[in-house]
Assembly symmetry: C2
Homo-oligomer: 334 residues x 2
């Protein structure tokens, strides 16, 4: 059978544009033993997609000519694996395509939930990343001040809400006054600072009168440098992403590293969500309770149509999303 696919035509050197992608049609082989034929429903759009184009990270690099890889929810159309049957809804690593043949190994059957998209946001990688990163890596105590960058992003929105739920003061960093207002008014952060404002470092200081105990860093670069100056002794920097660097031609590190790590005895620690898979049950139970009680809101930002996936990613890197961005694939998608 045939499927549409979005491939990475050329690897970007600097800013990612539509020209780096092409919508193609390709023949799919029939699934072999141990494989599944799947129909894509929702594709996760992540800054990590851009990082994969820069070379090997915690996974293999995307090469020119490859279809873009993605974490997705999909429906099993045909199964050659005993654990799965037609109609199953699975979470799986696949590619930007209407249909794909994937190894059953690595696919995960999803429970029936009321709102399927929540499996991609609060109950998915975004929510679990926020939960494990903030709680297991950052280890917040009630009353501490938590700052999170990309506060309106898929992970940041949950970091702030979880931090509030465990008794911290929460200050977001986001791009644009309107987005900051959304973070405070809709997500309940104590404050949010607009890094596009040239005087934002003063606003950050004012918003954190007792300094910063935990910085959940999604961006790296100059914002990290500025936040480090305001960290308290024994502060923790949860290193989740460095989105400011993915599109950069010449990456630059914060000039106060490692100096301030020494002087303030900071801990900077990177993690990926899989490192804490053994605590996923705990995370999901807590997140479900918070969503049910209304303590955590679930902002989702769904773009329609496979052909719009490149624009959705480019826009995400420019910071246009509010909460978790996904692409819904196919006219008959759930």
């Amino acid at each position: 059978m045939k499927t549409r696919q979005v491939i990475v035509k050329d690897l970007p050197k600097g800013t990612l544009t539509q020209d780096h992608f092409a919508l193609t049609e390709t023949d799919l082989p029939a699934p072999k033993e141990g494989e599944l034929l799947i129909r894509t429903i929702l594709m996760s759009i992540d800054a990590a997609n851009r990082a994969w184009m820069q070379g090997a990270t915690y996974r293999a690099a995307i090469l020119a000519g490859d279809p873009m890889h993605t974490y997705a929810l999909a429906e099993v159309i045909d199964s050659r694996a005993p654990k799965f049957t037609k109609g199953d809804i699975i979470a799986v690593e696949t590619v930007w395509a209407d249909y794909a043949v994937v190894p059953a190994k690595g696919a995960q059957k999803m429970p029936p939930v009321e709102t399927l998209s929540h499996l991609m946001s609060v109950f998915g990688i975004a929510g679990k990343t926020a939960f494990h990163g903030l709680l297991s890596v950052g280890r917040p105590l009630p009353g501490e001040t938590v700052v999170v960058s990309a506060a309106a992003g898929s992970v940041g929105a949950y970091v702030g809400q979880i931090a509030k739920a465990v008794g911290c003061r929460v200050v977001g960093i986001a791009g644009g006054a309107e987005k900051c207002k959304w973070v405070v008014d809709d997500l309940g952060f104590d404050a949010c600072v607009d890094y596009r404002d040239p005087a934002w470092h003063k606003a950050l200081k004012a918003a954190c009168p007792e300094g910063i105990d935990i910085y959940f860093d999604n961006v790296g670069g100059n914002i990290l440098e500025t936040v480090l100056f305001r960290m308290n002794e024994r502060g923790r920097v949860v290193c989740c992403g460095a989105v400011s660097q993915y599109d950069a031609t010449a990456p630059s590190g914060p000039r106060n590293l490692p100096g301030l790590v020494v002087v303030k005895r900071l801990r900077m620690e990177g993690f990926i969500v899989m490192d804490y898979a053994h605590e996923d049950t705990t995370a999901l139970r807590a997140l479900q309770n918070w969503v049910k009680s209304g303590a955590i809101k679930v902002p989702e930002d769904i773009v329609e149509g496979l052909e719009n996936a490149p624009a959705a990613l480019i826009g995400l890197l420019a910071g246009e999303n509010r909460g978790k961005r996904m692409v819904r694939v196919g006219p008959d998608a759930v």
Copy 2:
């Protein structure tokens, strides 16, 4: 009474030189209640002396006109505090001077030891910093690869020897072929790489065929950047100092930070030796046993004369010392 003192005449902006210091004579007041009149015996010369001139760190900054502060061994000449009597040997924060009046609070009576200078090296801050930083912050496992910069320095020399003693492979980084040879031949490191060699990154790779699990960083800057590329997943960077930055007019951060912390899930953690004071007894017992058994050698680098303290510090920053550098004060010094 009168005493000689070395003051910081002007604060350095870039490289520290003799011109930033002046040898002066000053009148000492008689000690008041709770104070001690002390005679300096051995002054610790540390890269931290330079950092204190850059502004507030974990302690107040040194200002122009101030005498340089120092950690020292001293003899009590006159005591106005009940816990100390004339003739006691104490460890104390004082200044670069023959004599000083200091608060008794903060002074610590030293046990009688065979070699007094060992209290300033292996049984002092250098040895304890190496012990706590490597073991409590770095948490090495036998068989892991430990890399340490400023390997011939006061702390680095013990980091490497302790790492060997607990079963690690140890690679030093030092400046100059002759110094590297000393680190391997005299201190027993498995290898030592000369960072002044333009191809040193290749030598580092060759010396660490299984990657790097722990990097004990005394220098920051470009060396940190290079080492980060070779860190294994879940590696730990023990941030002890950033000596490459203290003399720099425009500090620069490693360009791969925080990117590699995220991708490799590294932990970078700063500490100062006082954070682990509750484990000092354990540290001293272990260090004494290792020194007794010969597993740890105690290289010391003693410069004679108060007037030579500026040159001793300038030389330390240029990397000329082998092991712990101290200045012995007074003709009748022990």
